[in-house]
């Protein structure tokens, strides 16, 4: 049996309508695929960005605010950690790296972040070119930061001068020279310029952590001469040390947390939203399939006589069933596959936009969830298709032939 001749003829005759059905199914599928792909990408991308931030210590407050400021480099006010705590943390023997983070300036809109040389190396996994800064006047550019190797510049005060309405542009007198560039990390840090923490402290008139006349940068710091910082990233020696340090720095003056854990809590909220949107997408898909079904039924009524004629010409009932079923199957399969491409395309486009805006690389990928969704859509279509197929299968030949 080969119902495709009849199926083709019917689809060609009603090509406008069938195209519309396919598009409806495609859009409904694309919405579902887009949501799940994007959510997964957001999860993977943000988790990857937090990878190198093992343990964070900051002033008591919102962990989310600290995450946004320190890992994702979003402008925002975070209370400063008490200088005494900073001094203690920077001298912490169980930390392989204890990196203070200092913000406040920018160059061409890219944040300038102050920290210690060891953290630059750790974050970048080795520089792409040049070397890590060795004096207060040197800087390392993120892979995508808008400064050139060897370029000298004066930092602009503020996180983004264009956002601080009413304040004029204030340029610091200090000159920084780019001496190295990091490898791409897929994080917002790619867009940043990293300088010695002493440099940030000095331009803001704060003690630099070293003796007055000392030019040296990096640890060890003089605990009596460190100012407060928004956050300190700790890379502990061991996992045991990580938990020990977290407990140790949960004090009235400081909070300590694993960013990975904080993200999991955020993902729970994200997951709830996704759940809700997935249900909405699923409901849309169901409605689209039902709408398509109603349309196909209307078309089939027009073809009632034609199917009866096929029966008169000797077509078995199963042939009629297959003609109807195949038509709907074509719509479901074509629509779902086109929808998969559309959804993936939309997710990639949105990911690009987010990467451009935040620096977080979001890997939008079609995974098992998306195939499951598309497969489910196809399966649903194929099952639902049996209803009109069965109605046509059962329809009386003689009544259809004699109907005027």
């Amino acid at each position: 049996m080969n119902p495709f001749l009849v199926v083709r003829a019917t689809i060609v005759r009603h090509r406008g309508t069938y195209l519309l059905f396919i598009l409806l199914v495609a859009v409904a599928t694309a919405i579902g695929v887009g949501i799940t792909t994007q959510e997964a990408a957001l999860r993977t991308g943000s988790a990857r960005a937090a990878d190198k931030f093992d343990l964070m210590v900051a002033a008591p407050g919102s962990e989310t605010d600290v995450l946004l400021a320190a890992i994702y480099l979003r402008p925002g006010t975070v209370p400063l950690l008490d200088p005494a705590m900073v001094g203690k943390l920077l001298a912490e023997p169980r930390a392989k790296i204890s990196a203070p983070l200092g913000f406040g300036d920018n160059i061409r809109g890219s944040p300038i972040v102050g920290t210690v040389p060891a953290f630059v190396d750790y974050l970048s996994g080795g520089l792409r070119e040049g070397r890590v800064f060795a004096t207060e006047a040197e800087a390392v550019a993120g892979a995508a930061a808008p400064v050139a190797m060897g370029e000298s510049f004066h930092p602009d005060h503020g996180r983004n001068p264009f956002l601080e309405a009413g304040t004029g542009r204030v340029q610091h007198a200090a000159t920084l020279t780019v001496v190295g560039r990091m490898q791409p990390t897929g994080t917002p840090w790619d867009n940043s310029v990293i300088v010695p923490i002493e440099s940030v402290w000095r331009v803001h008139g704060l003690p630099t952590g070293h003796a007055e006349n000392e030019e040296r940068i990096g640890p060890p710091f003089d605990p009596a001469r460190v100012p407060g910082v928004p956050a300190i990233v700790i890379k502990p020696e061991t996992i045991n040390a990580a938990y020990g340090l977290r407990n140790l720095y949960r004090t009235p003056l400081s909070m300590a947390f694993f960013p990975a854990e904080a993200l999991v809590r955020l993902y729970e909220v994200l997951g709830d939203i996704r759940e809700l949107m997935s249900w909405l997408a699923l409901a849309t898909q169901g409605l689209v399939v039902i709408a398509m079904l109603a349309g196909v039924m209307a078309i089939l009524t027009l073809h009632r006589r034609q199917f009866a004629v096929l029966r008169a010409l000797g077509a078995p009932r199963l042939y009629i069933f297959l003609c109807v079923w195949t038509q709907i199957a074509v719509i479901a399969v074509a629509g779902a596959l086109i929808g998969l491409l559309l959804g993936a395309g939309a997710a990639v486009a949105v990911s690009h936009m987010i990467t451009r805006a935040t620096g977080i690389v979001l890997p939008a990928r079609i995974g098992p969830d998306e195939w499951l969704l598309v497969g489910g859509m196809i399966l649903f279509g194929l099952i639902v298709a049996t209803v009109p197929a069965f109605i046509s299968y059962r329809r009386s030949v003689i009544q259809s032939l004699t109907a005027q």
């Binding site: 049996m1 080969n2 009932r317 003689i398």
Partner: protein
């Protein structure tokens, strides 16, 4: 083409015994057909006429095995078609009966050749070489221009010839035609009548046509008239709408 002689033993003889078909309607059951005894010899050419609603179509579909009667039997070579299972009837119909309709019922999106080969798709995925060759020769025989990609661009007369070629694909010994000339002009209608008569006289097929067409009625050698589902004498005008003897051949 099959060049069988008249009286081809392949054509089965038709016997109707005590047949009654009733349709249920809103007002209750309606008797559509009631035939006590009727015998049609193999290779006959039979025209059935009667006013609208006289049961002509029901008669045609009953002998074509398309309905289940309330009572009685339709015997083709003694085989009670209406009593058989649906799948067996489908197979029997495919190979024994060729149907032609007033409105052709071709698929205009397909080529003439694809239309003729359509019944082959009821059995297998692609038609074999023999069927394909047969379809081509049928179209040639009926002078249908095959170069046309679309059946929709054919004239109505050509379209009916494609439909008859489709009916003949499996070389069935019986041809049933439902008002085969009613939507054609006189000239195209005459060609179709020639073809139907030749299928009987030259090839020995049983050809049964229901029609209002005076020319068809005059040229078929056997005639039956139906009125209110019962057989009447075709020579007597029995009800309004019975064909009058005008020579025009235009359907009334």
């Amino acid at each position: 083409m099959n060049e069988a002689k008249p009286g081809n033993p392949r054509a089965p003889d038709l016997k109707i015994e005590d047949l009654q078909v009733r349709y249920s309607s809103g007002a209750g059951a309606l008797t559509a057909l009631e035939i006590g005894q009727l015998s049609v010899l193999p290779g006959a050419q039979l025209a059935v006429t009667g006013p609208s609603g006289s049961g002509k179509s029901t008669f045609l579909y009953a002998i074509g095995g398309l309905l289940r009667p309330q009572r009685g039997r339709v015997l083709w070579d003694g085989r009670d078609i209406l009593g058989e299972a649906e799948s067996a009837r489908d197979r029997w119909r495919r190979h024994t009966v060729g149907f032609a309709f007033q409105d052709f019922h071709l698929l205009p999106e397909l080529t003439p050749l694809q239309n003729v080969l359509l019944p082959a798709s009821f059995e297998r995925f692609t038609p074999d070489r023999i069927l394909r060759a047969r379809a081509v020769s049928l179209l040639e025989h009926f002078s249908v221009p095959q170069a046309r990609a679309s059946t929709a661009t054919l004239s109505r007369g050509e379209q009916q010839r494609v439909a008859i070629a489709r009916a003949l694909l499996f070389d069935p010994p019986v041809i049933l035609a439902d008002e085969p000339t009613a939507s054609l002009d006189a000239k195209a209608g005459a060609v179709v009548i020639d073809i139907l008569l030749r299928l009987s006289s030259r090839e020995g097929r049983t050809v049964i046509a229901i029609s209002h067409d005076q020319e068809l009625l005059q040229r078929f050698s056997n005639k039956l008239a139906l009125d209110h589902g019962r057989l009447t004498d075709p020579q007597l005008p029995s009800a309004p709408g019975t064909p009058s003897r005008t020579p025009s051949g235009i359907p009334s």
